[in-house]
């Protein structure tokens, strides 16, 4: 067993865990943060995406010991003071989910891509979503939600600029 410490959703956490414990199991079973899902468990589906030091990674393909000292954000950490994150709001408003199983990973991936790319066209969003699979095949509304969210996060100034350009 190894003592592992990290900051999860702003709170310091420590636990003794086996070196072979994957980060996703550490989050779900040790910390009881079950919003992060296990889908394919072969690093293809993206249901387990969380942020480690600000980067969206697959927590099924990373050992908890590798995240020693890291800042980890899960889906539970996005809403602030009872208010949903703009990406969560956009998923709700655009009906960006059906069964909802892939949604935590989709949203964590979306937050990362918007931070890197800002307002994107639909083709770029689809390329950036290559590591996330929706078994309901609800991609049209997921892409719409991310497109909408990217504009909300960019703010009214950028949206106006886009409208003027159009």
């Amino acid at each position: 067993m190894t003592a592992v410490s990290m900051t999860v959703n702003g709170k310091p956490v420590s636990a003794d865990t086996e070196d072979r414990t994957l980060l996703v199991y550490f989050l779900r079973e040790e910390l009881r943060l079950t919003g992060t899902h296990i889908g394919c468990d072969t690093s293809q589906c993206g249901a387990c995406v969380v942020h480690v030091d600000g980067k969206a990674v697959k927590s099924c393909s990373l050992f908890a010991v590798q995240a020693q000292g890291a800042q980890v954000t899960t889906i539970e950490g996005l809403a602030k003071d009872g208010k949903l994150h703009p990406v969560q709001e956009a998923f709700r408003d655009n009906h960006g989910l059906q069964c909802g199983f892939c949604t935590p990973g989709m949203i964590m991936t979306a937050v990362d891509m918007i931070a890197r790319k800002g307002v994107m066209d639909r083709q770029t969003i689809r390329h950036e979503l290559e590591g996330n699979i929706c078994r309901c095949t609800g991609y049209v509304n997921i892409v719409s939600a991310i497109e909408d969210a990217s504009k909300r996060i960019a703010g009214p100034k950028d949206v106006n600029a886009e409208e003027k350009a159009a």
Partner: protein
């Protein structure tokens, strides 16, 4: 899925990693882990000890100058894909890195890990071989033509650590991949490069190991255009054949992707 038990150790320097490897000959190096961890979960790999080299600062850099792009082994695909310096010097290399796997994989996966693993369908080996790059290790420099020796096999010795890959800057180059729609691995990927002393064409995904196509290189040396290789067929014998495509299909794709790569580069 849970791997067999192992001991995890983190190396702070190449010297420290070498000492750890010397102390346990069965230990494996862990870099981005996007192949190794998946293999361990499937219990196809069972190392008793993992030595994590992903945090070694001396292995994380991109240096452009003197006609080469030198990239440290622990540099991630994301870092290469988003490097303005790489994009200016060898745009095809930045593009190649930007289409490996998916964004989450690119944040973790590294250049050194990719070349040391030498997956038959990995992208980087095509660039390393086509550009005639040099793979540097803790003890020597290995030419690309000598480095990739077979399926998942390289010239690396036991306990040897890749530290850098140095890519000569070509006059023109392009990488075209026909990707598996699920895994994003190359069904066939062709990297074509016009160097100052000749043309090199390398193919990944099609065979058990990345390989060059001398007939195309000779034709392109005189006329660097897609038309110059239009009549060159590649033998299906020895190509990979699986549920994703037959050997004949892959052989045909080599010609198609090579023409597209040359057309884009020319």
């Amino acid at each position: 899925m849970i791997p067999y038990p192992f001991t995890y150790r983190r190396a702070g320097s190449v010297a420290e990693a070498l000492a750890m490897l010397a102390a346990n000959s069965e230990a494996k190096l862990l870099s981005g882990g996007q192949t190794l961890i998946a293999a361990m979960k499937m219990r196809l790999a069972n190392p008793p000890e993992l030595i994590d080299i992903s945090g070694i600062r001396e292995l994380n850099y991109i240096r452009v100058g003197g006609g080469t792009v030198a990239i440290g082994a622990a540099t991630t695909h994301f870092e290469v894909a988003t490097s303005a310096e790489v994009a200016r010097a060898i745009p095809a290399l930045a593009h190649l890195a930007s289409i490996i796997g998916d964004p989450a994989v690119r944040y973790k996966g590294t250049l050194g890990g990719s070349v040391a693993n030498n997956d038959p369908a990995a992208d980087y080996p095509a660039a390393v071989l086509a550009l005639g790059a040099t793979v540097k290790t803790d003890r020597r420099s290995i030419a690309a033509d000598d480095f990739f020796t077979g399926m998942f096999s390289t010239a690396l010795e036991e306990g040897e650590i890749v530290t850098e890959v140095s890519f000569p800057v070509p006059q023109k180059s392009s990488y075209k991949k026909f990707q598996n729609p699920a895994s994003r691995y190359a069904m066939v990927g062709v990297f074509a490069a016009k160097m100052k002393d000749g043309v090199r064409v390398a193919v990944t995904g099609a065979g058990p190991c990345v390989f060059r196509v001398p007939a195309m290189e000779a034709a392109l040396a005189g006329d660097f255009s897609a038309d110059a290789i239009a009549g060159i067929a590649v033998e299906a014998d020895g190509m990979n054949s699986d549920i994703h495509g037959s050997a004949a299909y892959r052989a045909h794709l080599v010609g198609v992707m090579a023409k597209r790569a040359v057309a884009e580069a020319a």
